[in-house]
C-alpha cells in the first residue's frame, strides 16, 4: 500500500471525512464523562474550595494550546521543506483551533487567578509567554490571510511558526526558570502528580476530550481549506484555462 498517495489533498479529502465521526463522537462522550467526574466525583479542594474546578478546563486548554502550536510548526515546516500542500493546509487548519485554546487558557486562567491570587492578570512569565503564544497564532493567521498566493502565504506562515516554536518550552519551563505568581506543574512526566486521583482522572479525561475535539475540528477545517484551494484550480482546469 502506498501511503504517500494520502499526501494529495484530493485523496485525503474523503479519508478525512470518514475519520471525523471517529473523533467527534468519543470527544463528546469524554467531555460528558470528564465533567461528571470533575463536578460529581472529585472532592472539594481543602485550600481553594470549589474554585479549583476551573482546572478541568484550564489545564487541558493550556496543554492543547502548546501542543497544537508545535504540531502547526511541524506541519508548516514539512510543507515548506517538501513543498507538501496538504501539510501546509494542515498547519492552516490547526491555527484557529490552537488560537481558540490559547484564548480559553488565558480567560479561564484569569477567572481562576482572581479568587486565588486576587487579580485577573499579572505580567508574570507564564501568563506573558502564553499571551505571546496567542500573538504568534494571530500573526500566523493574519499573515496567511494577507497574502493572496497560497504557496507564498504558506512559506511566510512557516517561517513565523518555526521561529515562534521557541516560545513553547519558554511557556512550559517558565515556572521553573523564573519566580512566578503561577503555580508549578501539577503533573510531571517523571514523578507523582500533586493532586488527588479523581481530580487527576477528570483532568486527563478532559484532556483526551479536548484532543479528540481538536482532531475532529481540524479535519473539518482541512476539508474546507482543500475545497477552497482546489475548487478554483479544478474549475479553471475544466474549462482549459
Amino acid at each position: 500500500m502506498n501511503i504517500y498517495k494520502y499526501a494529495s489533498p484530493a485523496t485525503f479529502y474523503p479519508v478525512a471525512g470518514k475519520m471525523i465521526p471517529w473523533f467527534a463522537i468519543p470527544s463528546a462522550i469524554l467531555f460528558a464523562v470528564g465533567l461528571f467526574v470533575g463536578f460529581f466525583v472529585a472532592p472539594t479542594d481543602f485550600q481553594q474550595g470549589d474554585a479549583y474546578r476551573i482546572i478541568f478546563i484550564h489545564v487541558p486548554a493550556a496543554w492543547m494550546a502548546m501542543l497544537l502550536y508545535v504540531l502547526m510548526a511541524i506541519y508548516a515546516g514539512i510543507g515548506w521543506t517538501f513543498n507538501a500542500r496538504l501539510a501546509s493546509m494542515m498547519a492552516s487548519a490547526i491555527a484557529i483551533t490552537g488560537a481558540m485554546f490559547t484564548v480559553l487558557s488565558l480567560v479561564t486562567g484569569a477567572l481562576w487567578g482572581k479568587p486565588t491570587w486576587g487579580t485577573y492578570w499579572a505580567w508574570d512569565a507564564r501568563m506573558t509567554s502564553t499571551l505571546i503564544l496567542l500573538f504568534l497564532y494571530i500573526g500566523f493567521i493574519s499573515l496567511q490571510a494577507a497574502i493572496d498566493d497560497p504557496r507564498r502565504a504558506d512559506r511566510a506562515g512557516a517561517v513565523l511558526a518555526l521561529v515562534g516554536v521557541i516560545n513553547v518550552p519558554i511557556i512550559y519551563f517558565s515556572v521553573q526558570w523564573w519566580n512566578t505568581l503561577h503555580q508549578g506543574a501539577t503533573i510531571r512526566i517523571l514523578g507523582k502528580p500533586s493532586i488527588a486521583a479523581p481530580m487527576l482522572a477528570a483532568m486527563l479525561i478532559m484532556l483526551a476530550a479536548c484532543w479528540l475535539y481538536s482532531v475532529a475540528v481540524v479535519l473539518i477545517r482541512l476539508r474546507c481549506i482543500i475545497l477552497e484551494r482546489e475548487q478554483n484550480a479544478s474549475r479553471f482546469a475544466e474549462v482549459g484555462v
Binding site: 470549589d50 474546578r53 479561564t108 477567572l111 475535539y213 479553471f236
Partner: protein
C-alpha cells in the same frame, strides 16, 4: 457521588464563567466552520453557473 453546590462555595461566577466561556468558544468554532462550509458550497454552485468563456476572460485579465 458528591452533589456540587451550585454557588461553588462563593466562586460560582469564576467557575461557571469559565465553563460558559469555553462552551461559547466551542459553539462559535463549530458554527463558523458550518458557515464556512455553506459559503464554499454556495461559491461552488455559483462557479459552475459561470460560463467557461467568462472564466477564460477573467484568467486572461489576471495573467496579462
Amino acid at each position: 457521588m458528591n452533589w456540587p453546590d451550585l454557588s461553588m462555595g462563593g466562586y460560582g461566577f469564576y467557575v461557571w464563567g469559565s465553563y460558559i466561556f469555553s462552551l461559547i468558544a466551542i459553539v462559535w468554532e463549530l458554527w463558523s466552520l458550518s458557515h464556512r462550509k455553506k459559503a464554499i458550497v454556495q461559491q461552488q454552485q455559483l462557479s459552475r453557473s459561470v460560463p467557461a468563456s467568462v472564466l477564460r476572460e477573467s484568467a486572461n485579465e489576471t495573467t496579462s
